[in-house]
């Protein structure tokens, strides 16, 4: 019965358990040792799964302190923040234990909520407890003040050999065996993210054929994020053209991802150029469909990758969190919402020899006389349908 998450189960307890981050460990040890009221905070920043949060927990454990965790959503509300934190910062802890405050994933604070950052800075200035802040990307403009108030410690992507060693240790403790080649593959594919590697390892160990893990779902999405980053941020080159080959996702789906995320990166002229590319992609798509001439796919692919990438004047920096396409979901939800309207339109359409879609479009006009009881009777509308019409009438 191993239902526990291995990433939880094998979370490091002491500094000595943290792998592949020797420099960062030294720095945080020193920070904790030297901390006095009014000193700077510490920001641990680096890619996912490199041990930022784990390091904060270990620090607290090592000095027998309590860890007081705040997430980004607590910071969003300065009122709430004050309520939660003021007792923690100003009063002695009830248990007389020391305290460490952890602000996890500070880059989760969105642009509009800059107040959160200001509040955090005020806390750093007034607290008598060390504050540890973690972030994927700390170089955004909104953090410029915060950076001045903190020591920056970068966590590197963990070397794949280190990852592999950790995995082997875990397997030994779990008394499981997985082929060496598969382990190497998992370690490389994790791209420095130890947590992802351990999650993959646990999944692989539960599979009848562990090599299946190399074709899983999550990786698909990780790759689309990487591809988006390369297209939107980087300068287009020949490799841009082949980008989609390495994503295990149909091109229509990729199109939706790009459509959704263009405005997250591009503005003004760039935005217009990028959507003009998409417009052309869409036309080629239709041409392929109509003429069954699949060579057009080359153009669809080139415009969608290189074309969209070339719409910008300068390369982009910083971290952007890309969103999943939402349009299809919205369409689906809407279809459920207008079910009754659709069933009425269907009856009407049959009766007057038009298509259902046309009847739906005519709905705002025809509803004026669809509310007449004679018409409803003639169309044999159900009670629920009549009720729907009466409701929209009010």
């Amino acid at each position: 019965m191993t239902t526990t998450n291995w990433t939880e189960k094998y979370r490091p307890t002491y500094f000595i358990d943290i792998r592949g981050q020797e420099l960062a460990v030294e720095k945080i040890k020193e920070f904790i040792r030297k901390f006095r009221k009014g000193e700077k905070a510490i920001i641990l920043h680096g890619p996912s799964g490199t041990g930022k949060t784990a390091m904060a927990y270990v620090a607290a454990k090592e000095i027998h302190s309590e860890l007081f965790e705040l997430n980004a959503s607590d910071l969003r509300n300065s009122q709430k923040l004050r309520e939660i934190l003021s007792p923690a910062t100003k009063q002695k802890s009830l248990t007389k234990k020391g305290k460490i405050i952890l602000v996890d994933e500070v880059d989760g604070i969105s642009e509009v909520d800059r107040g959160g950052v200001t509040e955090l800075i005020r806390l750093i200035e007034s607290t008598s407890h060390p504050i540890i802040i973690t972030a994927n990307d700390i170089w955004g403009k909104k953090f410029s003040e915060l950076r001045k108030k903190a020591e920056l410690v970068q966590l590197k992507e963990i070397d794949y050999r280190t990852i592999k060693n950790v995995m082997i240790e875990i397997l030994r403790k779990e008394r499981k065996f997985i082929d060496n080649d598969i382990l190497t593959n998992i370690a490389i594919r994790a791209k420095g993210d130890l947590r992802a590697a351990i999650n993959d390892l646990q999944t692989a160990a539960s599979l009848e054929d562990p090599s299946q893990i190399l074709f899983d779902e999550r990786n698909k999405e990780m790759d689309i994020f990487t591809a988006l980053r390369l297209i939107f941020k980087g300068k287009p080159d020949k490799s841009t053209l082949r980008l989609f080959d390495s994503i295990n996702m149909p091109i229509d789906q990729i199109l939706l991802w790009i459509e959704e995320n263009i405005p997250a990166e591009y503005q003004g002229e760039e935005l217009a150029k990028a959507y003009d590319m998409l417009s052309k992609v869409d036309i080629f798509k239709r041409r392929i469909y109509r003429q069954q001439y699949w060579r057009f796919l080359v153009y669809e692919n080139a415009l969608l990758s290189y074309g969209v990438s070339s719409a910008k004047t300068n390369e982009k920096t910083g971290f952007t969190s890309y969103k999943k396409p939402t349009r299809i979901l919205k369409i689906w939800l809407n279809n459920r919402r207008i079910e009754k309207k659709k069933s009425i339109a269907k009856k009407y359409a049959r009766y007057v020899h038009v298509g259902e879609k046309r009847a739906l479009r005519e709905f705002p006009t025809i509803k004026q006389f669809l509310i007449k009881p004679e018409v409803q009777k003639e169309l044999r509308l159900s009670e629920e349908e009549v009720e729907y019409l009466n409701k929209i009438e009010q």
């Binding site: 959507y275 025809i366 018409v375």
Partner: protein, 319 residues
């Protein structure tokens, strides 16, 4: 029983009743009199008489038995060509009743079928050609594959002219004892866009409020049926907020079940009311026209519309 829905109540049941398509009627009438028709392809704008003509043909040919010998399908509503094929198969299996040795299948909005589906349709047409005649109807004959076009006699329906629409309005005015002044007739014609169905629906909606019909009443109905808040979409775009603009656009399109072309129509009319320089209005109009063209050529109207609002974002920056 007389229908309470005027598009049905005033649907012509004889050839001379159809307005504005005199040449077509003449040819179709003589084909029908010969008691044999080829496959037919009716192409032309909505509300110009395509379905009505098909109905008259079957009623003339089969008289009392018409309902047993006639199958009406709408390509944009059926789920794929297989469903259509099955329905055709079931219908064609039994022999026609009466003197005419074939049955008639009317396939409306045939241009909604993909080219592959049309290929399959063509085979179906061939398989049942001994027992079935097809009447296909579409808005754009260019969207119908050549092999089908070459198997059909093609009839191109014209947009209805003012005098045709007026004739229809007068007839209903009389039949329903309405009072419609000349300005109101003018406005109804404007609102009809050459579409007979549309003008009758407008008329019935207006008359359901009052039998004395004036321009004020009509414009209330027309504007209540127009896609609302398109201006809001454009204002967001002009102020530089692309995300809000597209969110609102999708919202409107879903809530009001309107097509990309409906949106384009509303945008094109709204451009002249926007607070931008005249040369930019011209630019935007050109872009809107280009977008409409691309919607017809492309596969996903919403992508094309996003490209259009991106141009409005630029216009907001004075470019």
């Amino acid at each position: 029983m007389v229908s309470e829905i005027w598009t049905e109540k005033y649907r012509p049941s004889k050839f001379p009743g159809i307005v504005g398509q005199d040449d077509i009627i003449k040819k179709i009438e003589s084909l029908t009199n010969s008691l044999n028709i080829p496959h037919l392809l009716f192409t032309g704008p909505a509300g110009t008489g395509k379905s009505t003509l098909a109905l008259i043909i079957v009623k003339e040919l089969f008289e009392k038995n018409w309902k047993d010998n006639y199958l009406e399908l709408n390509a944009s509503d059926e789920r794929g060509i297989n469903v259509i094929r099955d329905k055709v198969k079931n219908f064609a299996r039994t022999k026609s009743l009466g003197n005419i040795p074939f049955k008639i299948i009317f396939l409306d909005e045939a241009d909604a079928l993909t080219p592959e589906a049309q290929q399959a349709l063509r085979r179906t047409m061939e398989n049942y050609s001994a027992t079935c005649r097809f009447i296909l109807s579409c808005n754009y004959s260019s969207k119908i594959i050549d092999p089908i076009q070459s198997r059909c006699a093609i009839f191109r329906f014209k947009l209805l002219e003012k005098k045709d629409i007026e004739k229809v309005i007068k007839k209903i005015e009389e039949g329903e004892r309405l009072q419609i002044n000349p300005e109101a007739i003018e406005m109804l014609y404007e609102g009809s866009e050459g579409d007979c169905r549309r003008v009758i629906n407008l008329l019935q909606s207006t008359a359901s409020i009052s039998p004395v019909i004036n321009t004020e009443l009509i414009s209330t109905i027309i504007s209540s049926a127009k896609p609302k808040d398109i201006r809001v979409v454009l204002d967001y775009a002009l102020s530089g907020d692309f995300q809000k603009s597209r969110e609102k656009l999708l919202d409107i399109m879903l809530k009001e079940s309107i097509s990309g072309q409906d949106v384009i129509k509303a945008v094109q009319k709204e451009i002249w009311n926007l607070p931008v320089e005249p040369d930019i209005k011209v630019k935007l109009t050109e872009k809107t026209g280009e977008t409409e063209f691309r919607i017809v050529e492309g596969s996903d109207p919403f992508i094309q519309l996003q490209s259009l609002i991106a141009s409005f974002v630029l216009a907001g920056l004075g470019r």
